[in-house]
């Protein structure tokens, strides 16, 4: 409900990208979907405009003429929690992880499909609107009731160990958003386990076996290669 309200009010999106063609494409496509768009050519202009325009979401390119995109995220995060989606040609995992760890909410690699970008934008907006606060989360046949620590697939209850549940809960609360390995390890096992990604692999596999209809081709827990996982 809330989400619909947001979208009706026409959410404002700030685009920080130095390529006019890219800004133009996003302007046309996103306006057509009812968003109000403002563009900025440089990182500094983007930060300044953000303060004035108060966007609900920021689409940010990492390669900017003045500041590095990562630096822009850091500066933004000093004073605003507005969701940031990175839209970049940089496809190296290190760049993605750095951006996400710096506080970006999602990462879309250029070239991208418009449908995917729109889906990520909707997820991020929904998230920002506080969708994660709902006590019962539903993902297709997967239902997670946070109040009762209850998980069911297609109506059948699934027994999870405390760690499995915690992992699922973190992913569900941040549904649609990529969580890096580091973020997951830190939240579930604690900061000293950040490097032990094998724990994560094992638990994700167990979790998939319990909640995925076909664990070999997972539908809910999606692997972001080299970066992390997201729940959809």
């Amino acid at each position: 409900m809330q989400v619909m309200a947001m979208e009706n009010k026409s959410a404002r999106i700030m685009i920080i990208d130095d390529e006019p063609q890219m800004r133009r494409l996003l302007q046309v496509a996103l306006t057509a979907h009812g968003y109000e768009i403002r563009g900025a050519e440089t990182g500094r202009a983007g930060i300044d405009q953000t303060a004035v325009f108060h966007p609900d979401l920021i689409v940010l390119d990492l390669s900017l003429p003045d500041l590095d995109g990562i630096e822009v995220i850091k500066q933004l995060r000093e004073w605003t929690q507005t969701p940031v989606i990175i839209l970049s040609v940089r496809e190296q995992e290190n760049d993605k992880i750095a951006a996400l760890d710096a506080g970006a909410d999602d990462y879309v690699t250029k070239p991208f499909s418009m449908g995917e970008l729109l889906a990520r934008i909707r997820t991020a907006l929904r998230h920002a609107a506080g969708a994660g606060d709902e006590p019962v989360l539903t993902f297709g046949g997967l239902v997670i009731d946070l109040t009762r620590r209850y998980v069911a697939v297609d109506g059948r209850e699934v027994k999870l160990t405390p760690t499995e549940y915690e992992l699922l809960r973190i992913l569900a609360v941040n549904a649609g958003k990529v969580l890096t390995h580091r973020q997951l390890m830190r939240t579930v096992w604690g900061p000293s386990y950040e490097q032990e990604t094998n724990y994560l692999r094992v638990y994700i596999r167990q979790l998939r076996q319990k909640i995925e209809p076909d664990p070999a081709r997972p539908r809910h827990i999606i692997t972001e290669p080299g970066v992390g996982y997201r729940l959809v």
Binding site: N94, R169, V188, N198, R201, Y203, R217, T223, G226
Partner: protein, 904 residues
């Protein structure tokens, strides 16, 4: 003045001799303040007015107004600035001068030492380079800076001059003496007209005394006179007039491998200094008088070194007769004074042939011969020093005593049968044996012991030392003489054998090296071997420099890695000099003596290929023998370098052709692969833009689909090319982490669009362990394999992925039901741009499998193609299980509370 000189036949001759080389004109003065710079500038101005291209490379006016006035109108080359210890120093810009190539360059203060970091350590080297480039150089010099006069100047003035210029620089120069009467100079100094650096003011005040000035002035005058003498000599030689002519004194000291020679050298030095004469230390190397053993070699080397240190020009002549070679040298160099040692004991041979001294005296009319007696030297022959002096050797004595005892015991029972003469002969055996094994000293010991026991045991009355028949004394004397002579001869033979063995060892080393380096085609290895062999044979630290980029020398090999052989800029400058001039230089030679190492050029017919540098241990100098060996090693090394460089060139040519072929393939492939989707995109887009109303919604969608597919195809191609570039540039860095193989397969399957509508079977063992791998790259491998499988098989046929493991590795295979890959192509498909003949109409770059192989190889795995048992292709790759993932995984602690907190 120079106009007159130009007419001088001498100058013409010099011009012919060194074609293209510039002339050095030195304005020589007795001390600072005589007006050298002024005179130089005046002459330069005259040249400028003559229309010559004159350039001031470096002129120090020291702020004198009259000098500065002369500078007006002279073109000046700006100096360049060098940082040293955080300060900036101005130096003459040699490169700029060489680039501008004027006819005459003015270079003030020839003795100046350049700031470290300059090309040459000394300014005179800069001047040398200018001269070599065909530029005339005008320069100034104070007589005290001349190297040979260094000691004398220090003695007279009490000031040790550190900045010196080698005499040979001046020998090639025109000298213009700038002279001022001492009184006037001292007056100038008192008037403050002489430039004095602040610190040295006090010292200089002492320096500017009439005595000093007079002495220096005399030196300058004398030197100039000597120059004129030298010119005359050159002239006479040019016109084949036999010398000697009494124009100046020249001293020759005859040296030998004897400690006595050092006295001769010192004597020669004193005489030469008194006469202000040039002097030579000459050694004649004849087969008969070849130095025997290490000790004699070292002694000779020491003597030569001493002579060099004392300023002699040292010469080694090879020849048959010492006397004739010496006399030949005397004639050739117009020697006026010969210094020769008188042998202590005239040998038999000398009685027969006449002594060397007599011979020389007879044949040296008009030349003073100084014969120095060697009486006061206790050890006149090196042999006396060699054997048994350093330490008491117990073994030879014991052995000699035992031998003689044994002989005596054996001879006792049969003495009447043998007779005394034969017994005496028997006693010669230990003598000869000792001579051969331990040297002459022990042969004498054996002879004396032999006589004693012969006398004691066999000469009546036996068992006493008394001799009845006095004739036996004569026998003893003969015995002793025979023993001594045979002993001496065999000892000499022994030393020759040792020496021959050393030579043989060196020859063997040379031979071994030539064999080893001809077996390798790697430059580094060959150079290492050369360095190692030189290190072993000459017992010196070794460094090999070869020209790198922009013709600078780069250290390419050292005898061992942690050694402290220092190759700083100065050393490199020396090496470069050797490289450019093709002459041996550095320590122990007569060029660039200041260097730490001796540098030998590595020469082939193609020219100089590099430089071999050695630094002898314990700071000895190399003996001539060692230097010859070194030169042999250097030329062997040069041949190897030449050969390997040619091989490398050939290889490079081949590689170039190969890469051209690959480039052609790349361009063909890319142009095809890019144009095809571009054509469909442009076609569809222009269709939509131009005639939008023609299409209904279905066909419009079709066109848009075409565009999308074309764009995706191009995207794939770009990715492939980027991956290939990464692989090729060696930039493929693995970021390994623990990976779930099943997860990788799942992700890859979801990436391949063509698989969405296809049956895909994934079989993974349930207990698959985690592997250490780069998730993204292995996923890339899987995507490529799945993509190929989808492309090359029927649209509805099943594709299957299998993952198995054993203890060492995980094997993942992708199988399709397409036409498969022919047996003979199964190796080739991993080559760049290789496409199956049957698949030409299917789009692709021929890079996919190449990239897969590179990635799998980087992981230490294998990849291969085989036939799918059910028909079709089967590609399998493995990933090694290097470390087992930890089995136990801790349950997360904070989960419960976090979950509870959120829930309530």
């Amino acid at each position: 003045m120079a106009g007159e000189k130009r007419a001088d036949p001498d100058a013409i001759l010099a011009g012919i001799k060194e074609e293209g080389r510039g002339t050095l004109t030195v304005f020589l003065g007795a001390a600072a303040g005589v007006g050298k710079t002024y005179a130089m500038l005046e002459t330069a101005r005259e040249r400028l007015e003559d229309g010559l291209n004159v350039l001031a490379g470096w002129v120090e006016t020291h702020g004198r107004a009259d000098t500065e006035a002369l500078m007006a109108g002279l073109p000046v080359a700006p100096p360049h600035h060098l940082e040293y210890h955080g300060r900036s120093f101005a130096e003459m810009d040699l490169d700029a001068l060489l680039a501008r190539k004027p006819q005459i360059v003015l270079v003030d203060e020839l003795a100046h030492t350049n700031i470290p970091g300059s090309r040459h350590a000394k300014r005179y080297q800069d001047a040398e380079e200018l001269l070599a480039a065909g530029i005339d150089v005008y320069t100034t010099l104070n007589i005290q800076h001349l190297e040979s006069l260094n000691d004398a100047v220090a003695q007279i003035t009490g000031i040790k001059v550190r900045e010196t210029v080698p005499d040979k620089i001046l020998e090639q120069a025109e000298i213009q003496l700038v002279d001022v009467p001492p009184e006037e100079l001292i007056q100038r100094f008192k008037d403050g007209k002489v430039y004095v650096p602040d610190k040295a003011a006090e010292a200089l005040r002492k320096f500017f005394r009439p005595g000093n000035i007079n002495a220096l002035r005399e030196m300058a005058l004398r030197h100039t006179a000597k120059r004129v003498d030298h010119q005359m000599e050159t002239y006479m030689r040019a016109h084949a007039i036999e010398g000697p002519w009494s124009a100046g004194e020249k001293v020759m000291v005859c040296i030998s491998p004897s400690p006595f020679a050092a006295r001769l050298i010192r004597y020669g030095r004193r005489m030469a200094a008194n006469m202000q004469a040039e002097w030579f230390a000459v050694y004649v190397d004849t087969p008969r008088h070849m130095p025997v053993g290490e000790d004699e070699h070292n002694l000779l080397e020491k003597n030569i070194q001493l002579a060099e240190e004392l300023g002699a020009e040292t010469v080694t002549i090879a020849g048959d007769s010492v006397a004739d070679e010496l006399l030949g040298f005397v004639k050739k160099h117009n020697i006026t004074q010969i210094i020769i040692g008188k042998p202590l004991r005239p040998l038999f041979r000398e009685w027969l042939h006449g002594s060397l001294v007599d011979y020389i005296l007879k044949r040296s009319e008009g030349i003073s011969v100084h014969v120095i007696s060697g009486k006061s030297q206790p050890n006149s022959t090196p042999q006396a020093q060699t054997a048994g002096r350093e330490s008491f050797q117990i073994l030879p004595y014991t052995a000699i005593v035992l031998m003689i005892a044994l002989l005596t015991v054996l001879a006792m029972p049969v003495r009447s049968y043998l007779g005394q003469v034969n017994i005496a002969m028997l006693y010669l055996v230990p003598v000869l044996f000792s001579a051969v094994v331990w040297g002459r000293y022990f042969s004498v010991v054996a002879a004396i012991l032999g006589i004693i026991s012969f006398d004691f045991f066999f000469i009546p009355p036996t068992f006493t030392f008394t001799v009845f028949d006095l004739r036996y004394l004569f026998s003893f004397a003969i015995f002793l003489l025979v023993a001594l002579m045979t002993g001496t001869l065999s000892a000499r033979l022994r030393q020759h054998i040792i020496y021959a063995r050393q030579r043989e060892a060196r020859m063997v080393a040379l031979y071994a090296l030539s064999r080893e380096i001809s077996a390798t085609n790697e430059l580094e290895k060959a150079l290492e071997q050369v360095a190692k062999k030189v290190y072993e044979s000459v017992e010196s630290q070794v460094v090999i420099l070869l020209p790198g980029a922009d013709n600078k020398l780069v250290v390419r090999a050292k005898s061992d890695a942690e050694q402290k052989i220092l190759v700083d800029e100065n050393e490199k400058a020396v090496a470069l000099w050797v490289y450019e001039h093709g002459q041996t230089a550095g320590r122990g030679t007569d060029t660039l003596v200041g260097a730490d190492c001796t540098y030998v050029p590595m020469r082939t017919e193609q020219g100089i290929l590099g430089v071999l540098g050695v630094r002898p241990r314990d700071s000895r100098h190399l003996s001539p023998e060692q230097r010859r060996l070194l030169e042999a090693f250097a030329s062997l090394g040069a041949v190897a370098v030449n050969r390997i460089q040619l091989v490398e060139q050939a290889k490079e040519t081949h590689l170039l052709a190969e890469s051209e072929r690959l480039h052609a393939a790349l361009f063909n492939s890319i142009s095809h692969e890019l144009r095809t989707p571009l054509t469909s995109i442009i076609g569809a887009v222009t269709g939509l833009l131009d005639e939008d109303d023609l299409y209904d919604s279905v066909s419009r969608r079709d066109l848009l689909q075409t565009i999308k597919q074309g764009a995706l195809r191009m995207h794939r191609l770009v990715n492939n090319l980027l991956d290939m570039t990464r692989v090729e540039s060696g930039y493929l860095q693995l970021s390994k982490e623990w990976c779930d193989v099943q997860d990788m397969i799942g992700v890859a399957a979801s990436q391949v669009e063509a698989l969405r509508s296809r049956p895909l079977k994934i079989e993974a063992a349930p207990d698959l362990p985690l592997v250490q791998a780069d998730f993204v790259l292995i996923e890339q491998v899987l995507v490529n394999l799945l993509d190929n499988a989808a492309k090359y098989s029927g649209p509805d046929s099943e594709i299957s992925v299998k993952a198995l493991h054993n203890r060492e590795e995980v094997a993942i295979s992708v199988a399709d039901h397409g036409p498969g890959i022919p047996e003979e192509d199964r190796e080739l498909v991993f080559d760049k741009f290789y496409r199956l003949r049957a698949s030409r109409q299917i789009g692709g770059t021929g890079l996919g499998l190449t990239i897969c192989k590179a990635i799998v190889d980087a992981h230490g795995g294998r990849i291969w193609v085989s036939g799918n048992p059910g028909g079709g292709a089967l590609v399998t790759f493995t990933l090694p299980l290097l470390a087992a993932a930890p089995e136990k995984i801790p349950e997360s602690e904070p989960s419960a509370s976090a979950g509870d907190g959120n829930g309530e």
